[in-house]
């Protein structure tokens, strides 16, 4: 049985390393002073639409944008809620 003692808290909560480093990066961005903060905010913008395909047909696409991204991160432990929120466009 693999040891789970060494698993960091965020992996136990279901986050990937990418999610974790993004949250850290956005925290660092909010620590910046004014002129740099505006430039850094431009680097945080996210927008794309992702659609899952099943049996050769696309399902309704769900949109990702910056505000939505952070709202999902806030609910790290509660996976079901994450999945439900993804259904909102």
């Amino acid at each position: 049985m693999a040891s789970s003692a060494a698993v960091p808290f965020w992996r136990a909560a279901g986050m990937t390393y990418i999610t974790y480093s993004n949250i850290c990066a956005s925290l660092v961005r909010t620590c910046l002073k004014e002129p740099y903060r505006a430039e850094a905010a431009a680097r945080e913008k996210v927008h794309f639409a992702i659609a899952k395909w099943a049996e050769g047909k696309p399902e309704k696409p769900s949109y990702f944008n910056t505000m939505f991204m952070y709202s999902t991160y806030l609910f790290v432990g509660r996976f079901k809620k994450l999945v439900d929120r993804k259904q909102l466009s």
Binding site: A2, S3, A6, V7, R11, T16, Y17, I18, T19, Y20, S21, N22, C24, A25, S26, L27, V28, A42, R43, E44, K45, V46, H47, F48, A49, I50, A51, K52, W53, E55, G56, K57, P58, P61, F64, M69
Partner: protein
């Protein structure tokens, strides 16, 4: 000259930098590394070659020896991205590690996911078709008994072409990426989504690498999942050189490599998306340029024909009138 793969280079830098500084340039300096910003004049040829071979994994086209001259990244954005700059000084870093990771391209696995990167907008020449052709060729190469290959498509144009005959094999399709200028955050969230939704043993990213404004090389970058890396490193071969490094902290290599594999995927994806965007802009420029030139030539030819015809008809009318008049008087 050993090939420095973005995958291996990124893994190296991850080890050296504090976690959480994934996106900021400061992290590199903290780790004691020097960031070399690329200036066009200063780039020695060797470094330019590193830069341009950044994500070369397997190339299906017959491998001509890529003799690259110092080439310029036209996009100002590309020049300031830390990922590009940092890979420059990694040339001096430990090579066997990167060679081990780089060799992932030729490894045969059961579950392949082909990520095709294309553009949303058209009028960009043939690059989307070449990406799709390469993905289809890769699909044929990686399919077989007990093997499974799926597509993840980025961009409208690629989706439209793949839907024509490979509808059943598409797993995810992603559009509207280019709405904001490209940044790492967007691509990493995208990579995260892909990781969450797709099971894979190996990810093959197909994109157009920017060679020069008129030349784009379709390339494939491979990311192996940690379990496969572990299996292959035990089996020996190039990836087996991973064993020469002691990995502390967990029972299996796969646990430790999980973070690195995810970060590697996100960075390689970022590189691929950027290169593809560069190629798209270059292709659009040359396509528009050649179509303007063709239209101009056609315009010139037609103007000449028009003038000649007009003059001929005037001459005919004149001769008729003159001959009629002379018939009356004469």
């Amino acid at each position: 000259m050993p090939k420095l793969d973005a995958a291996g280079a990124v893994i190296l830098v991850t080890m050296l930098m504090p976690a959480g500084f994934a996106n900021r340039g400061e992290g590199w300096e903290d780790a004691g590394l020097q960031v070399a910003l690329l200036e066009d004049d200063d780039v020695p040829e060797k470094i330019a070659v590193w830069m341009l071979m950044i994500s070369s994994g397997m190339s299906i086209m017959p491998l001509r020896n890529l003799q690259l001259q110092p080439s310029v990244f036209p996009l100002k954005a590309a020049q300031s991205i830390p990922a590009f700059s940092c890979l420059v000084m990694l040339e001096k870093m430990i090579i066997p590690w990167t060679v081990g990771i780089h060799a992932g391209a030729r490894i045969d696995v059961k579950k392949n996911v082909i990520i095709t990167i294309s553009s949303d907008k058209g009028l960009c020449g043939g690059i989307n078709s070449t990406s799709v052709k390469m993905s289809k060729a890769l699909y044929k190469l990686t399919s077989g008994p007990e093997k499974e290959t799926k597509y993840v498509v980025l961009g409208e144009k690629g989706k439209v072409q793949l839907v024509r005959d490979s509808k059943k094999n598409i797993e995810l399709s992603i559009t509207e990426i280019q709405k904001n200028p490209l940044n790492y955050t967007q691509v990493s969230v995208l990579a995260d989504e892909i990781l969450k939704n797709v099971e894979f043993d190996a990810l093959r990213i197909v994109f157009n690498k920017f060679h020069s404004v008129v030349a784009f090389v379709p390339t494939v970058s491979t990311i192996l999942s940690p379990e496969v890396v572990e299996k292959e490193s035990e089996a020996g071969g190039k990836v087996g050189e991973l064993d020469s490094y002691e990995i502390e902290g967990g029972e299996t290599k796969a646990e430790i490599l999980q973070n690195l594999a995810e970060f590697q995927f996100s960075c390689v994806m970022f590189n691929a998306v950027l290169e593809n965007a560069c190629s798209e802009l270059g292709a659009r420029m040359s396509a528009m340029d050649s179509s303007s030139r063709n239209a101009g030539e056609m315009l010139d030819r037609l103007t000449l024909t028009y003038n000649r015809t007009r003059q001929a008809s005037i001459t005919t009318e004149l001769t008729e009138i003159i001959s009629g008049a002379s018939a009356l008087t004469g």
